[in-house]
Amino acid sequence: MDKQFQPLEEIREIRSIMERSSRFQALSGIAGVIVGFIAIAGTVFAYAALGLSYDQVPYEAPGQDQYSSMQLNGTFLLLDALFVLILSAATGILFAARNARKKGLPVWDNAAKRLMINFAIPLAAGGIFCAILFYHGHFALMAPSTLIFYGMALLNGSKYSIDDIRYLGIIEIGIGLLAAVFIRHGLIFWALGFGLVHIIYGTRFYFKYEK
Protein backbone atom coordinates (compact mmCIF):
# COMPACT_ATOMS: atom_id res chain seq x y z
CA MET A 1 0.00 0.00 0.00
CA ASP A 2 1.00 3.55 -0.68
CA LYS A 3 2.57 5.19 2.34
CA GLN A 4 0.46 8.32 1.91
CA PHE A 5 -2.74 6.40 1.44
CA GLN A 6 -5.68 8.76 1.94
CA PRO A 7 -8.99 6.99 1.47
CA LEU A 8 -11.07 10.14 1.88
CA GLU A 9 -9.08 11.96 -0.78
CA GLU A 10 -9.45 8.96 -3.06
CA ILE A 11 -13.23 8.80 -2.68
CA ARG A 12 -13.48 12.52 -3.37
CA GLU A 13 -11.51 12.09 -6.55
CA ILE A 14 -13.62 9.14 -7.69
CA ARG A 15 -16.78 11.13 -7.11
CA SER A 16 -15.44 14.12 -8.96
CA ILE A 17 -14.40 12.02 -11.97
CA MET A 18 -17.82 10.35 -12.04
CA GLU A 19 -19.57 13.74 -11.96
CA ARG A 20 -17.32 15.31 -14.54
CA SER A 21 -17.56 12.42 -16.96
CA SER A 22 -21.32 11.96 -16.78
CA ARG A 23 -22.68 15.48 -16.33
CA PHE A 24 -22.18 18.47 -18.53
CA GLN A 25 -21.06 21.27 -16.26
CA ALA A 26 -20.35 24.15 -18.57
CA LEU A 27 -23.84 25.65 -19.02
CA SER A 28 -23.52 29.40 -18.94
CA GLY A 29 -25.48 31.77 -16.71
CA ILE A 30 -24.71 34.70 -19.00
CA ALA A 31 -26.33 32.79 -21.86
CA GLY A 32 -29.41 32.28 -19.66
CA VAL A 33 -29.72 36.01 -19.10
CA ILE A 34 -29.28 36.77 -22.81
CA VAL A 35 -31.84 34.10 -23.76
CA GLY A 36 -34.26 35.70 -21.30
CA PHE A 37 -33.89 39.10 -22.93
CA ILE A 38 -34.27 37.58 -26.39
CA ALA A 39 -37.58 36.00 -25.33
CA ILE A 40 -38.88 39.25 -23.88
CA ALA A 41 -37.78 41.14 -26.97
CA GLY A 42 -39.57 38.54 -29.10
CA THR A 43 -42.79 38.99 -27.12
CA VAL A 44 -42.63 42.79 -27.17
CA PHE A 45 -41.94 42.64 -30.89
CA ALA A 46 -44.95 40.39 -31.43
CA TYR A 47 -47.27 42.75 -29.53
CA ALA A 48 -45.87 45.77 -31.34
CA ALA A 49 -45.99 44.22 -34.80
CA LEU A 50 -49.54 42.96 -34.32
CA GLY A 51 -50.53 46.37 -32.98
CA LEU A 52 -51.92 44.96 -29.74
CA SER A 53 -51.99 46.59 -26.34
CA TYR A 54 -50.84 44.41 -23.46
CA ASP A 55 -54.36 43.42 -22.38
CA GLN A 56 -55.45 42.47 -25.88
CA VAL A 57 -55.32 38.84 -26.84
CA PRO A 58 -53.51 38.06 -30.10
CA TYR A 59 -55.73 35.06 -30.79
CA GLU A 60 -58.83 37.20 -30.78
CA ALA A 61 -57.78 39.95 -33.10
CA PRO A 62 -60.83 41.73 -34.46
CA GLY A 63 -61.48 41.46 -38.13
CA GLN A 64 -64.14 40.68 -40.65
CA ASP A 65 -62.84 37.24 -41.23
CA GLN A 66 -61.97 36.29 -37.70
CA TYR A 67 -60.41 32.97 -38.47
CA SER A 68 -58.06 34.09 -41.22
CA SER A 69 -56.91 37.03 -39.12
CA MET A 70 -56.26 34.66 -36.25
CA GLN A 71 -54.39 32.37 -38.54
CA LEU A 72 -52.28 35.26 -39.74
CA ASN A 73 -51.45 36.18 -36.15
CA GLY A 74 -50.77 32.54 -35.37
CA THR A 75 -48.36 32.27 -38.27
CA PHE A 76 -46.63 35.44 -37.21
CA LEU A 77 -46.30 34.24 -33.62
CA LEU A 78 -44.99 30.88 -34.76
CA LEU A 79 -42.26 32.48 -36.87
CA ASP A 80 -41.43 34.90 -34.09
CA ALA A 81 -41.13 32.05 -31.57
CA LEU A 82 -39.04 30.02 -34.01
CA PHE A 83 -36.68 32.93 -34.44
CA VAL A 84 -36.38 33.30 -30.66
CA LEU A 85 -35.73 29.56 -30.36
CA ILE A 86 -32.93 29.56 -32.95
CA LEU A 87 -31.24 32.62 -31.44
CA SER A 88 -31.54 31.13 -27.96
CA ALA A 89 -30.14 27.74 -28.93
CA ALA A 90 -27.19 29.39 -30.68
CA THR A 91 -26.53 31.57 -27.63
CA GLY A 92 -26.70 28.61 -25.24
CA ILE A 93 -24.37 26.44 -27.31
CA LEU A 94 -21.88 29.23 -28.03
CA PHE A 95 -21.54 30.25 -24.40
CA ALA A 96 -21.40 26.67 -23.12
CA ALA A 97 -18.54 25.91 -25.50
CA ARG A 98 -16.73 29.06 -24.44
CA ASN A 99 -17.32 28.22 -20.80
CA ALA A 100 -16.04 24.67 -21.21
CA ARG A 101 -12.85 25.88 -22.87
CA LYS A 102 -12.33 28.43 -20.12
CA LYS A 103 -12.72 25.78 -17.43
CA GLY A 104 -10.53 23.36 -19.34
CA LEU A 105 -13.37 20.85 -19.71
CA PRO A 106 -14.09 18.87 -22.87
CA VAL A 107 -16.73 20.64 -24.98
CA TRP A 108 -18.30 17.80 -26.90
CA ASP A 109 -17.93 14.75 -24.67
CA ASN A 110 -20.25 11.92 -23.71
CA ALA A 111 -22.04 14.03 -21.13
CA ALA A 112 -22.67 16.83 -23.62
CA LYS A 113 -24.00 14.36 -26.19
CA ARG A 114 -26.33 12.70 -23.72
CA LEU A 115 -27.54 16.05 -22.43
CA MET A 116 -28.30 17.13 -26.00
CA ILE A 117 -30.11 13.93 -26.95
CA ASN A 118 -32.19 13.76 -23.79
CA PHE A 119 -33.03 17.44 -24.02
CA ALA A 120 -33.82 17.30 -27.72
CA ILE A 121 -36.32 14.41 -27.67
CA PRO A 122 -39.06 16.05 -25.55
CA LEU A 123 -38.33 19.38 -27.21
CA ALA A 124 -38.75 17.93 -30.70
CA ALA A 125 -41.97 16.22 -29.59
CA GLY A 126 -43.14 19.63 -28.33
CA GLY A 127 -42.23 21.26 -31.61
CA ILE A 128 -44.21 18.69 -33.57
CA PHE A 129 -47.13 18.97 -31.15
CA CYS A 130 -47.17 22.75 -31.63
CA ALA A 131 -47.16 22.29 -35.38
CA ILE A 132 -50.20 20.01 -34.95
CA LEU A 133 -51.92 22.63 -32.78
CA PHE A 134 -51.20 25.17 -35.47
CA TYR A 135 -52.59 22.86 -38.12
CA HIS A 136 -55.83 22.49 -36.18
CA GLY A 137 -56.01 26.21 -35.47
CA HIS A 138 -55.55 25.95 -31.70
CA PHE A 139 -53.24 28.94 -31.63
CA ALA A 140 -53.89 29.86 -28.03
CA LEU A 141 -52.59 26.52 -26.76
CA MET A 142 -49.24 26.93 -28.49
CA ALA A 143 -47.62 29.23 -25.93
CA PRO A 144 -48.48 27.02 -22.92
CA SER A 145 -47.39 23.93 -24.85
CA THR A 146 -43.94 25.31 -25.66
CA LEU A 147 -43.43 26.09 -21.96
CA ILE A 148 -44.56 22.65 -20.80
CA PHE A 149 -42.50 20.72 -23.34
CA TYR A 150 -39.47 22.93 -22.73
CA GLY A 151 -39.80 22.25 -18.99
CA MET A 152 -39.99 18.52 -19.62
CA ALA A 153 -36.95 18.70 -21.89
CA LEU A 154 -35.01 20.42 -19.13
CA LEU A 155 -36.21 17.91 -16.56
CA ASN A 156 -35.12 15.05 -18.79
CA GLY A 157 -31.76 16.60 -19.65
CA SER A 158 -30.99 17.53 -16.05
CA LYS A 159 -29.84 13.97 -15.34
CA TYR A 160 -26.82 14.77 -17.48
CA SER A 161 -26.13 18.24 -16.21
CA ILE A 162 -26.23 20.36 -13.09
CA ASP A 163 -29.08 19.67 -10.64
CA ASP A 164 -30.35 23.26 -10.83
CA ILE A 165 -31.63 22.53 -14.34
CA ARG A 166 -34.13 20.11 -12.84
CA TYR A 167 -35.79 22.85 -10.80
CA LEU A 168 -35.73 25.21 -13.74
CA GLY A 169 -37.60 22.52 -15.68
CA ILE A 170 -40.22 22.11 -12.96
CA ILE A 171 -40.75 25.88 -12.81
CA GLU A 172 -41.24 26.04 -16.59
CA ILE A 173 -43.78 23.20 -16.49
CA GLY A 174 -45.67 25.02 -13.72
CA ILE A 175 -45.73 28.30 -15.64
CA GLY A 176 -46.83 26.42 -18.75
CA LEU A 177 -49.77 24.86 -16.90
CA LEU A 178 -50.76 28.26 -15.50
CA ALA A 179 -50.51 29.68 -19.00
CA ALA A 180 -52.94 27.03 -20.17
CA VAL A 181 -55.41 27.96 -17.39
CA PHE A 182 -55.16 31.70 -18.10
CA ILE A 183 -55.12 31.04 -21.78
CA ARG A 184 -56.03 34.56 -22.81
CA HIS A 185 -52.70 35.76 -21.45
CA GLY A 186 -50.57 32.91 -22.76
CA LEU A 187 -48.03 35.27 -24.28
CA ILE A 188 -47.51 37.11 -21.01
CA PHE A 189 -46.77 33.79 -19.31
CA TRP A 190 -44.52 32.93 -22.23
CA ALA A 191 -42.49 36.10 -21.62
CA LEU A 192 -42.45 35.26 -17.92
CA GLY A 193 -41.28 31.67 -18.39
CA PHE A 194 -38.81 32.12 -21.20
CA GLY A 195 -37.83 35.65 -20.27
CA LEU A 196 -37.90 36.53 -16.60
CA VAL A 197 -37.22 33.02 -15.27
CA HIS A 198 -34.19 32.64 -17.54
CA ILE A 199 -32.83 36.01 -16.45
CA ILE A 200 -33.24 35.18 -12.76
CA TYR A 201 -31.85 31.66 -13.17
CA GLY A 202 -29.00 32.83 -15.37
CA THR A 203 -27.96 35.44 -12.83
CA ARG A 204 -28.09 32.91 -10.02
CA PHE A 205 -26.10 30.46 -12.12
CA TYR A 206 -23.48 33.03 -12.92
CA PHE A 207 -22.86 33.90 -9.30
CA LYS A 208 -22.99 30.29 -8.16
CA TYR A 209 -20.72 28.65 -10.76
CA GLU A 210 -18.87 31.27 -12.78
CA LYS A 211 -17.86 33.89 -10.27
Binding site: M1, E10, I11, E13, I14, I17, S21, P106, N110
Partner: protein, 99 residues
Protein backbone atom coordinates in the same frame (compact mmCIF):
# COMPACT_ATOMS: atom_id res chain seq x y z
CA UNK B 1 -11.16 -4.48 15.05
CA UNK B 2 -11.31 -5.76 11.52
CA UNK B 3 -8.60 -4.53 9.22
CA UNK B 4 -10.33 -3.32 6.07
CA UNK B 5 -7.05 -2.44 4.37
CA UNK B 6 -6.89 -6.06 3.32
CA UNK B 7 -10.21 -5.70 1.51
CA UNK B 8 -8.84 -3.02 -0.76
CA UNK B 9 -8.27 -4.25 -4.27
CA UNK B 10 -4.63 -4.07 -5.29
CA UNK B 11 -5.70 -3.58 -8.89
CA UNK B 12 -7.07 -0.15 -7.99
CA UNK B 13 -3.99 1.11 -6.20
CA UNK B 14 -3.08 3.26 -9.14
CA UNK B 15 -4.81 6.61 -9.50
CA UNK B 16 -5.11 6.13 -13.25
CA UNK B 17 -6.87 2.78 -12.93
CA UNK B 18 -9.16 4.25 -10.31
CA UNK B 19 -9.93 7.07 -12.72
CA UNK B 20 -10.61 4.73 -15.65
CA UNK B 21 -12.97 2.61 -13.56
CA UNK B 22 -14.75 5.72 -12.18
CA UNK B 23 -15.48 6.88 -15.72
CA UNK B 24 -16.66 3.43 -16.83
CA UNK B 25 -18.95 3.05 -13.81
CA UNK B 26 -21.11 5.97 -14.94
CA UNK B 27 -20.68 5.73 -18.72
CA UNK B 28 -21.64 2.63 -20.65
CA UNK B 29 -19.11 3.00 -23.46
CA UNK B 30 -16.18 5.36 -23.52
CA UNK B 31 -13.46 5.68 -26.14
CA UNK B 32 -9.79 6.20 -25.60
CA UNK B 33 -9.68 9.91 -26.33
CA UNK B 34 -12.51 10.62 -23.89
CA UNK B 35 -10.65 8.82 -21.10
CA UNK B 36 -7.52 10.73 -21.97
CA UNK B 37 -9.37 14.02 -21.96
CA UNK B 38 -10.92 13.35 -18.55
CA UNK B 39 -7.82 12.10 -16.78
CA UNK B 40 -5.24 14.28 -18.50
CA UNK B 41 -2.47 11.67 -18.58
CA UNK B 42 -0.32 10.37 -21.41
CA UNK B 43 -1.42 7.78 -24.00
CA UNK B 44 1.14 5.20 -22.91
CA UNK B 45 0.18 5.55 -19.29
CA UNK B 46 -3.51 4.98 -20.01
CA UNK B 47 -2.81 2.13 -22.42
CA UNK B 48 -0.77 0.15 -19.92
CA UNK B 49 -3.40 0.53 -17.20
CA UNK B 50 -6.16 -0.39 -19.61
CA UNK B 51 -4.44 -3.59 -20.61
CA UNK B 52 -3.92 -4.44 -16.94
CA UNK B 53 -7.63 -3.95 -16.25
CA UNK B 54 -8.48 -5.94 -19.35
CA UNK B 55 -6.31 -8.86 -18.21
CA UNK B 56 -8.20 -8.90 -14.93
CA UNK B 57 -11.42 -9.07 -16.93
CA UNK B 58 -12.60 -5.83 -15.33
CA UNK B 59 -13.14 -4.05 -18.61
CA UNK B 60 -14.18 -5.01 -22.12
CA UNK B 61 -12.41 -3.66 -25.16
CA UNK B 62 -14.35 -3.19 -28.36
CA UNK B 63 -12.52 -2.35 -31.54
CA UNK B 64 -14.46 -1.11 -34.51
CA UNK B 65 -14.22 1.25 -37.43
CA UNK B 66 -16.09 4.52 -37.69
CA UNK B 67 -15.79 5.09 -41.41
CA UNK B 68 -12.13 4.42 -42.02
CA UNK B 69 -10.94 5.49 -38.60
CA UNK B 70 -10.31 2.78 -36.02
CA UNK B 71 -12.09 3.45 -32.79
CA UNK B 72 -11.53 1.58 -29.57
CA UNK B 73 -14.05 1.86 -26.81
CA UNK B 74 -14.15 0.44 -23.34
CA UNK B 75 -16.85 -0.73 -20.97
CA UNK B 76 -16.75 -2.07 -17.43
CA UNK B 77 -17.66 -5.75 -17.11
CA UNK B 78 -20.02 -6.86 -14.35
CA UNK B 79 -16.98 -8.43 -12.76
CA UNK B 80 -15.17 -5.11 -12.83
CA UNK B 81 -18.16 -3.23 -11.44
CA UNK B 82 -18.42 -5.68 -8.58
CA UNK B 83 -14.71 -5.42 -7.79
CA UNK B 84 -14.84 -1.64 -7.92
CA UNK B 85 -17.85 -1.48 -5.61
CA UNK B 86 -16.12 -3.74 -3.13
CA UNK B 87 -13.08 -1.50 -3.28
CA UNK B 88 -15.29 1.54 -2.60
CA UNK B 89 -16.93 -0.24 0.33
CA UNK B 90 -13.52 -1.01 1.80
CA UNK B 91 -12.46 2.62 1.40
CA UNK B 92 -15.63 3.75 3.16
CA UNK B 93 -15.14 1.26 5.97
CA UNK B 94 -11.59 2.51 6.52
CA UNK B 95 -12.82 6.10 6.68
CA UNK B 96 -15.54 5.17 9.14
CA UNK B 97 -13.07 3.32 11.29
CA UNK B 98 -10.62 6.19 11.44
CA UNK B 99 -13.31 8.67 12.47
Amino acid sequence: MKNFIGDLNKAFESRVRLGIMSILMVNEQVDFSAIKEQLQVTDGNIASHISALEKLNYINVEKKFIGKKPNTSYAATSNGKKAFNEHLNALEAIIRQSN
